[in-house]
């Protein structure tokens, strides 16, 4: 399963511990050095699809400061998909990096 950057970083954001929606948005931005920012609409579309594919599970809703939240956790299947995607990206970096070195575009 190929993941687009917002989905990839959303799954990666959940590796350490379960997070609620806004915390996932901040973590995605941190992990990607600000290059990927997910909005509320995008985030919940990603979470819905990931939950449908069994990659994450959602907890029970709770209220903090009058605002409802719900924590999401990555499943073992989600970790496998994330691992596979990371290896695919690493392979691509190795192959294209070698090509660039051969072409003299980069030296290291």
């Amino acid at each position: 399963m190929e993941l687009r950057p917002p989905s990839y970083f959303t799954l990666a954001a959940l590796l350490d511990k379960p997070l609620h929606g806004y915390a996932i948005m901040r973590r995605v931005s941190e992990l990607s050095d600000g290059s990927v920012r997910v909005t509320t609409g995008t985030l919940y579309s990603i979470l819905e699809r990931a939950a449908g594919a069994g990659l994450i599970v959602s907890g029970e809703p709770y209220v903090v400061s009058g605002r409802q939240r719900r924590d999401y956790s990555i499943t073992p299947a989600g970790r496998v998909v994330l691992q596979e995607e990371t290896e695919r990206l690493a392979r691509a970096v190795r192959v294209v990096g070698a090509q660039l070195r051969t072409a003299g575009v980069v030296t290291s």
Partner: protein, 274 residues
């Protein structure tokens, strides 16, 4: 208007089952994410609208093709029959004169009104049977119709009414929007027919149904596509008009109708690939 109220209102763009399950959570997350910035608030709100429309489209367009087609054909028939009724009323009001014999009064006013009432109140079989009798009467009242005119006027109602009788309706018609759409459509028909009395069909005003239809695809795809189908048959009826008078409007109607159906097919394929 507080931000919370705006977000809660915007969340209504999502289908009811999503709203019930996660609506309050969407509100909380969006408010957290846009706490200090008006620009971020607008951006977040826009993303919620797009995601909500996509979620509705996913629900609406995920039905099997035969269900979507049977629902849009019945909507198309009802819109086409309603347009004929409004046309007769406006013509009568504009030009005056006698209403004609009982068969004309039945075909122009009574049958279409009964069909509309039956359809809106979900009595599809009654609407279909009345519609078929309307088709027969139209054929009797206007025997001089050319084959082209006959196809353009009666083919869609005939198919749609047959579907109403034999195939149950799949599209869930709940909420105010189910009533609002036919009312809006007929308000438009009245204005349009009044304009047509003195001017030939042209311009944005005449094309409005097929321009607005894509906006309704996520909410009522069968209605939106059915309206477009009715417009397609109306364009076909202009093929029978001699001369170049209708060439442009005909091309516009066929073009926009093709665009609406193309968009719906594209959306369905894109959602299926997700």
């Amino acid at each position: 208007m507080s931000r919370g109220w705006i977000v809660r209102t915007t969340v209504r763009v999502y289908p009811a089952h999503v709203r019930d399950a996660k609506g309050d959570e969407f509100v909380g997350t969006l408010l957290d994410a846009s706490e200090d910035s008006a620009v971020a608030f607008i951006k977040e709100l826009a993303s919620l609208v797009v995601a909500g429309l996509l979620s509705r489209s996913r629900d609406a367009l995920s039905s099997p093709v035969n269900q979507v087609v049977s629902d849009l054909v019945r909507w198309g028939a009802v819109i086409a029959i309603g347009r004929v009724m409004v046309g007769a009323i406006v013509t009568e009001a504009s030009w005056g004169g006698a209403l004609g014999g009982p068969e004309t009064i039945w075909a122009a006013y009574i049958a279409p009104a009964l069909i509309l009432i039956a359809f809106i109140s979900h009595h599809d079989k009654a609407a279909g049977i009345t519609g078929l009798s309307w088709c027969v009467t139209e054929f009797v009242v206007y025997p001089q119709l050319s084959l082209n005119g006959w196809i353009a006027t009666l083919l869609l109602p005939l198919i749609g009414c047959g579907v109403m009788i034999f195939v149950p309706r799949h599209e869930p018609d709940r909420g105010r929007i189910a009533i609002a759409i036919p009312l809006l459509a007929f308000a438009y028909f009245v204005l349009n027919e009044v304009a047509l009395v003195s001017n030939p069909p042209s311009g944005v005003g005449f094309m409005l149904p097929v321009l607005v239809a894509p906006l309704f695809v996520p909410f009522k795809p069968a209605c939106a596509l059915g309206t477009t189908l009715a417009w397609l048959f109306l364009a076909a009826s202009f093929l029978a008009v001699p001369g170049d008078h209708f060439t442009l409007v005909r091309a516009q109607m066929f073009g926009f109708a093709a665009m609406v159906f193309g968009l719906a097919v594209f959306a369905r394929l894109a959602l299926a690939r997700e």
